[in-house]
Symmetry: C2
Subunit: 342 residues, 2 copies
């Protein structure tokens, strides 16, 4: 750790403070402060001089000090489980755009499991973020306790029932039911479901239940499901397809928990010479970009991820009374996109 100087010298590098800039520019510290926070309050000439000196010294106002003095930080923390797929991209863009409109910044932290998520929550709380956005409603017990005890404004996304504070999502049950009805209407009779096991498994529990329920309602058997290891993306599809075909050689439809799994299924079908959708109908989830490009293109669920991001910020920065009841869950809806694979 290079015990660099007691103070400054090493590390952060920036020795520039408001005082120094003020001295160098021949103005008072207050003027420097105003130059950055309320430029219109400072005469143009003065402002230009201050900015020039600041640029020369590499000075940027110390947000930590500002935050401490003003008591409000303009940072929103977003914790996401993975950046491997494009729907999170749109989601994060939604967060950032909406936050920027209100003069806030979004900081992102990646967390693959509940443990890491908790650590990230601690950090954001340490920064006294204006709010925190999580994905899903499965968290470390301590995460929920901490956020609630601190009354940190929190939004859980991608789910319709939050466990902590506010939430925004869409009905995965309804989407799953529509998928099943779609396949049944296309004449499919032996339909399987592929999800992920592991830490994210519970995220798929509702879908699996809806899948079974709707199949039952259609008078079809509902025992065909397979949970692939979550670390496998496309490979999960291959693995699952093999398992399902062993159990049900007459399988003629498969509902996948993500477009990536569905893509893996399609690739596996290409290798095994199975015709999609002739022999097997395949559906995905998420409407990632690959869904519209793969051959055959993929029937999938398109959630309004960008809206979800925007709505999360809206909820977070709505300025609800601390202690007041949380606003009701928001539903941004989804859309069934039918393509060649069914």
């Amino acid at each position: 750790m290079s015990g660099a100087g007691r103070n400054g010298a090493g590390g952060g590098g920036s020795r520039a403070t408001m005082q120094r800039v003020a001295a160098a520019a021949g103005v008072s510290p207050m003027t420097v402060s105003n130059t950055f926070r309320y430029p219109e309050r400072v005469q143009e000439e003065t402002r230009a001089r201050v900015l020039a000196v600041a640029a020369e010294l590499g000075y940027v106002p110390n947000l930590a000090a500002g935050h401490l003095a003003s008591g409000s930080s303009r940072v929103v923390g977003a914790i996401i489980p993975s950046i491997r797929n494009s729907s999170f991209y749109r989601y994060v863009r939604g967060l950032q755009d909406a936050a920027a409109e209100q003069g806030h910044e979004v900081m992102i932290s990646l967390a693959d499991d509940a443990e890491q998520e908790l650590a990230a929550v601690r950090t954001f709380m340490g920064w006294r973020a204006a709010g925190i956005v999580l994905v899903g409603s499965e968290h470390h017990a301590e995460t929920a306790a901490l956020l609630r005890a601190a009354r940190m404004p929190t939004v859980e996304t991608w789910v319709r029932r939050g466990a902590i504070d506010m939430c925004v999502g869409f009905s995965v049950e309804e989407a799953t039911r529509q998928m099943v009805r779609h396949l049944v209407a296309r004449g499919r009779r032996q339909i399987g479901f592929i999800g992920y096991s592991g830490g994210v498994a519970r995220r798929f529990a509702d879908r699996l239940a809806a899948f079974r329920d709707e199949l039952g309602a259609a008078g079809l058997a509902a025992g065909l499901d397979y949970m692939a290891h979550e670390a496998d993306g496309f490979a999960a599809g291959k693995q699952a397809l093999e398992a399902l075909l062993t159990r049900a050689p007459g399988l003629d439809g498969v509902i996948c928990a993500t477009d990536v799994i569905a893509g893996g299924v399609i690739f596996a079908c290409q290798r095994r010479g199975i015709d999609v959708p002739g022999q097997l109908a395949v559906t995905g989830w998420g409407d990632y970009e690959i869904a519209s490009e793969i051959v055959p293109s993929l029937t999938t669920v398109r959630p309004r991820t960008r809206d979800m991001g925007r709505t999360a910020i809206e909820l977070l920065l709505s300025g609800r009374e601390a202690g007041g009841p949380p606003p009701p869950p928001r539903d941004v809806g989804f859309e069934l996109v039918c393509r060649e694979s069914t």
Copy 2:
């Protein structure tokens, strides 16, 4: 009660401070501080009591205040241009893992253009981050000026020549040359190159030059290249393939700037009935997961993205003397992965 402070604003909601925790636990603020920063200095019994009270109040030490007081932050800012593909995932994991080992946190900010990148740099500098990691060497002029003036430790990644401070990457020229030689050795004679235009175009300039140079060295014509619009992922491949085939109906090999473009090319070939690799050899870049799963699987370049992330952190936290010369660029290498598509 909620608006305890002079300016409520509803903000963080957390009114828990060290003082309050100390009072509630019947100890001095110092003991609370020690409990969190140097647990071993505090007697176990006292520590347990403090932690219990802290949990109850939802108290987490205020990092802004801490950083202000100590003059050093344990945050590394990473700015990445996109989270649409899996190589950034591994890269970010590398950053986070390495940072965690040294007790640091990585905060991520997404920036699609130089303007946004500069804003993110400002924010991280405002928080007095311990260091900043950027992607590429194409930045806003002010970005470089600011970072240098403030002596902010900075690492540029994915490139071998940095413009600011330190850098880590691998030789894209050498990788491109190997690709070309690989295709030529496979008997290809009309080889095209597909990259992206727009803001990221310059990132591909070196590759394009190496492509032309190596083709020339092989005695082949090197006029076949196409820059697709960067917003298009897979679709760019389709678009580019059509353009190239129009110009060169005998096209028998194509080098793509990313696996996603290559995937798009393969999908387009499937639609047009072009046999890959029979009629057309296709190569990608990045070894995203799809490369090994798509049919046919993709010959591609596998950069050591995870190592790149780790190395970036290593450089950043190496504790170099402020003002000293930056360490030489680091090369983490790459690997040519040959698969079915060639």
